[in-house]
């Protein structure tokens, strides 16, 4: 794989931002969007 989507080895992305006690979803809409995506996957 050699393309822009492969980020391995790229420079300039800065430090890793660690979030203490990270929730599964950061906002209610994230949860709804994820669940909707998964549910619609059943129709594929």
């Amino acid at each position: 794989m050699n393309g822009v989507q492969d980020m391995g080895g790229m420079h300039g992305m800065g430090p890793i931002q660690l979030e203490k006690d990270e929730p599964v979803f950061h906002a209610p809409w994230e949860a709804r969007a994820y669940a909707t995506t998964r549910a619609m996957g059943a129709w594929r």
């Binding site: 794989m1 989507q5 492969d6 980020m7 391995g8 080895g9 790229m10 420079h11 992305m13 800065g14 430090p15 890793i16 931002q17 660690l18 979030e19 990270e22 599964v24 979803f25 906002a27 209610p28 809409w29 949860a31 709804r32 969007a33 994820y34 669940a35 909707t36 998964r38 549910a39 619609m40 996957g41 129709w43």
Partner: protein, 233 residues
């Protein structure tokens, strides 16, 4: 377009608030300030509109969505991986099955499904520390470890793990001695790898409160010196 929609909603909410104020002139100003309803964010409105549309078309069931959310918030997560690892610590035969046929061994514990179909388990040893990264799309074994944390999907982690694995580990509080090497495997493999520490620590039991099973990648890259990493750690 979204600005227009948001502007419309803000104006509408303000107008409603204003109308209410006319009818309630006896209400003091301090209370009026709390009568306004905050307009949801654009993305929240968009997701709600999408869900409403899909429900209206009979394609999704809101109760089913609630169940999915509850599953990922309370039933699936690193705790599942921790149970698998803890059993491997206590059961050598299971550990062997886990290292040779991960999907089947993990299924014995009742975990499997979407994004967990092609898992590989590798073992950390006193000399080898496996650092797992997906440099492409950051897939993750959802049924075993839950949804990935934001840092795992982030550009800094996906880019720097390849060229500065020791530095990345240091940011997580893991300092490897010079005698450690990190494991390799540059082939693109459509699978998820996760690793575990060999041996339990004091106070950890088979139900697993720890979960050294942590990092996976859909391209399953493991590094050992050369390759794209280009240097020994």
């Amino acid at each position: 377009m979204s600005t227009t929609r948001r502007g419309f909603l803000t104006t509408a909410a303000t107008a409603v608030g204003g109308a209410a104020t006319h009818d309630l002139t006896h209400v003091n100003h301090q209370q009026q300030d709390h009568d306004h309803q905050a307009v949801p964010s654009d993305i929240a409105l968009l997701v709600k509109a999408l869900e409403s549309l899909l429900v209206e078309k009979g394609l999704v069931d809101p109760a089913g969505l609630d169940a999915l959310i509850d599953t990922y918030e309370h039933k699936v997560g690193p705790r599942n991986g921790a149970r698998v690892v803890a059993r491997a610590w206590a059961d050598p035969a299971y550990k062997q099955r886990l290292l040779t046929s991960a999907d089947a061994a993990i299924a014995e514990m009742g975990y499997g499904g979407l994004q967990g179909e092609h898992m590989v388990v590798v073992e950390n040893t006193p000399k080898v520390h496996n650092l797992i990264v997906c440099t492409l799309c950051s897939c993750y074994p959802w049924p075993v470890l839950g949804l990935p944390p934001v840092w795992y999907k982030s550009a800094p982690y996906r880019s720097r793990t390849v060229i500065d694995p020791r530095g990345v580990l240091r940011e997580f509080g893991v300092e490897l001695g010079k005698t450690w090497r990190y494991a390799s495997g540059t082939a693109q493999r459509n699978c998820a790898i996760w690793c575990f520490q060999n041996g339990r620590r004091q106070g950890e039991d088979e139900r697993g409160g720890t979960g050294h099973a942590r990092h996976t990648g859909c391209d399953g890259r493991r590094r050992e010196g050369g390759g794209k990493a280009g240097r020994r750690a």
